[in-house]
Each structure stands twice: as C-alpha cells, then as structure tokens.
C-alpha cells in the first residue's frame, strides 16, 4: 500500500515568489493534515481537513497561506508571496478519520522549502 505522497521533495525559490506543495493521502483516508516543521522543532499543525472541509485552520497564516482539498482526496498548500522565514519542511499527514484515539496519523516525507 502506498503511503502519503508529497511533491516536490525540495523547492528553492526567491522571496516574494509563490510556491505550492501537493499531497496525496493514503487511499480511503478522509482526514488530511498539513504541518510546518521548522529546523530543530517539532511539527506544528497548520490545517486539518475532514473530507473537503477545513475544520481547523486556526494556525494557518491566512494573509499569505492558502490550502485546498477540492474533491476530498489530494490537497495543495500554497504560499504567496513567500518570505525568508517560510523556509522549513512542510509535512502532510492523513488518517482514516479525525479522532486521535482510534486513528493513526501517517506522515509523508515532506517538502523542504528554501526561500532565498
């Protein structure tokens, strides 16, 4: 069974440019998460989707970040414009459903973004 797929794995852009990350969750997983992992830190949740609905986006910086999961399957996270401080690893995870007790989150390998 394929795991969570993310692309690209690495991205280097100049500041003020837009960038997008793509995530394909494990088949059948209704819940999808985007996390931000800064260097030397643990992951921090940006947004959680249940099917196509963003049910928790309280930590998403909405002035420059946006996300979508139009058909309730794969998802795109966008930054426009990127800033130097956005350099980090962006992780996608998925689970069958939302409750932590019964539903393990499976993580993708991440996209490492470098903003110059």
């Amino acid at each position: 069974e394929a795991g969570v797929v993310q692309s690209p794995r690495y991205k280097i852009i100049e500041k003020k440019q837009p960038v997008a990350f793509w995530c394909n969750p494990i088949s059948g997983h209704n819940t999808l998460y985007w996390y931000l992992q800064n260097l030397g830190q643990g992951p921090e949740l940006l947004i959680r989707y249940e099917n196509e609905e963003a049910v928790d986006d309280s930590q998403l910086p909405k002035d420059r970040f946006s996300a979508e999961r139009l058909k309730g399957v794969d998802s795109t996270l966008k930054i426009q414009p990127a800033e130097l401080g956005d350099s980090a690893v962006y992780l996608c995870a998925s689970s069958l459903a939302a409750g932590l007790a019964l539903n393990e989150q499976f993580f993708g390998p991440g996209t490492r973004l470098t903003v110059l």
Partner: protein, 111 residues
Amino acid sequence: AQSVTQPDIHITVSEGASLELRCNYSYGATPYLFWYVQSPGQGLQLLLKYLSGDTLVQGIKGFEAEFKRSQSSFNLRKPSVHWSDAAEYFCAVGSRYALNFGKGTSLLVTP
C-alpha cells in the same frame, strides 16, 4: 494549554547499550501521549501511544514507554540500541484531534 518538553536535544549511545529518552508534558486532563521517530528523508512514524489503562506501553522496533502521572512524564526506553535507531525522536501530547509535538531529541548511535 497542552505542551511537551523534551529536555535532551542530542543523545549519544553506544550500540547495544540501553536508551531512555525523556518527555514531560503539561495538560489539564489525562492526555493521549505518543512517540514518533523521524529518519532522514522519511516521514514521521508512530512508535507507540498511551491512551489509557496500563501505564507501560509496548511499541514497534522493541521500544516501550511508561506513563507516570505523578511526574507528568512519558519516557521512551529500549534495552539494546541498534545503529539503525539513529534518528530524531518526537514526543507528542494530544487532545481529541490535535497533536502537539516536542522539539525532538536527536539520537546518535556509536559503534
């Protein structure tokens, strides 16, 4: 608010030696507690979790962890470390839906 502290940023252990990684949490109720491992270029993988009940939890790859409410701790242990265990280890505390991760402990295994 819930939070996790992993006091050790780096730990070095000789292959075959025992390992204990520390994790302290802050949470108002009985938390869900997790340990994840992240190898270079890999996604985070769940090692084990505590939800309730028996305070000694067994996980994959020979790891175990013990929940100690009185110490607000959930330390990860392994009796004999293998070179392949070198990785970043994250403790996390969870409420119903959200995971809050610690900053991680980097494990180096020497021959």
